[in-house]
Symmetry: C2
Subunit: 227 residues, 2 copies
DNA sequence: GTCTATAGGCTGATAGAC
DNA sequence: GTCTATCAGCCTATAGAC
């Protein structure tokens, strides 16, 4: 069983494995406890490698963190941006965007919501101008969908940016708080039903579609407002 | 101009002033940078007092933090819980709850959204069982309002917990990200209009009321779903 | 009550052996 | 590439002077 792979190739493969393990461990820990809440020794221990490897491969804690955040954000933004290209009706696109974010948050990049919220709370202070732009790119996707819906007459004339904030905010919040809900349910303080991801996705889809829908008869509402 | 107040009284007043200054400075800094991101020296400097005062008056950094979080949460929860007692229609109560959270977040306790989000991201690990219960109490308020609306026929039969999560999540997100939006607007990367608190409150009120409203004619929707 | 001085622990980074 | 050993810096907490 002698490995006949050339030495340099083998080393490169090992190095990539080390980097991958550090990114995986760091993603989880940074999402859970935040940048300042995680020691390099904790990341190295979870990754099963030596903590000196962080400096060697990434050039320090901050650069490892930036690599992780950038990769995590790039994932979801790239997927979201493929959506509005299709010519489907705006309500369908909105439903799909919600499902896409949820799928990313539960399966593909489960630590994305927590990392995103933490960065946004920090005012993007740690991020470069390119990374700070990721939220703007998601906002642009929502804007295109909403504007199409208003044009088509399926949505009432609603502000795209405010719609983006309410949509993304509630989704990030829901998935970032999964751990807390699980704790409360385990302690018997929260009814365990109906708070799973699938139910919430459907809830948000219905809420948004109905809430943004063009109003058929504005009479009652208009009357109340005039009073 | 001799102060004739008894010495002990004067000292007590000074102590309270010191404590208040530490709480004010700590609230702001903890909200901005999180528990691990703030050094006691920074809080003391901002408060204009010596950092040894933290141990003397509060018994350490963690206890100062807990005092701040508890006070901040108690404020909004107490105000929210007065709402459903009034016999007004559910949609009105929902509008008022949204406005109340916004008012708290902008004027009365502007650091509440950030602190709340940070704690919830941490899974409530730092909090005692009493403090962790605060989100549950807000959820209970929303549940009572939603259940009343469903009973009255003004809301469709919607899950109160999911409604709570979408409502509170989007509001906390909006107000906790004000600083980031301001940065992006200052850099000219975000149109500066329409993203103020008042506009968002109105947006969320309309979105929720319309999105939860009992559907007058379900025919079109039901047909699409059956297909 | 407040301040200074300092103890003691932990963190991120790196030099050097392998 | 990886590991061990070590360092300087910053942190929280506290003893003791005022």
């Amino acid at each position: 069983m002698v490995d006949k792979t050339p030495r340099t190739t083998r080393r490169r493969r090992d190095a990539e494995a080390t980097q991958r393990k550090l990114v995986v461990a760091g993603t989880r820990l940074f999402a859970e406890r935040g940048y300042d809440g995680v020691a390099l020794s904790a990341i190295a221990a979870r990754a099963g490698v030596n903590k000196a490897m962080v400096s060697y491969h990434f050039g320090g804690k901050r650069k490892l963190y930036l690599a992780i955040v950038t990769a995590t954000f790039a994932d979801i933004v790239a997927r979201a941006e493929t959506l509005p290209a299709s010519g489907r009706p705006a309500p369908d696109l909105l439903r799909e965007l919600i499902a896409l974010i949820a799928e990313t948050a539960t399966r593909r990049t489960p630590d994305f919501p927590a990392m995103m919220l933490r960065e946004v709370l920090a005012g993007g202070k740690r991020l470069g101008s390119e990374t700070v732009a990721y939220p703007l790119r998601v906002a642009a996707v929502v804007r295109r969908i909403v504007e199409r819906g208003v044009r088509e007459g399926s949505f009432r004339p609603v502000d795209p940016l405010l719609t983006h904030l309410s949509l993304v905010g509630s989704l990030l919040f829901f998935f970032a708080t999964t751990r807390l809900r699980e704790r409360l349910m385990a302690e018997g303080r929260l009814r365990a039903n109906a708070a799973d991801g699938a139910s919430y996705v459907k809830h948000m889809q219905d809420l948004l579609i109905d809430g943004l829908a063009a109003r058929r008869n504005r009479s009652r509402r208009a009357a109340r407002r005039a009073s």
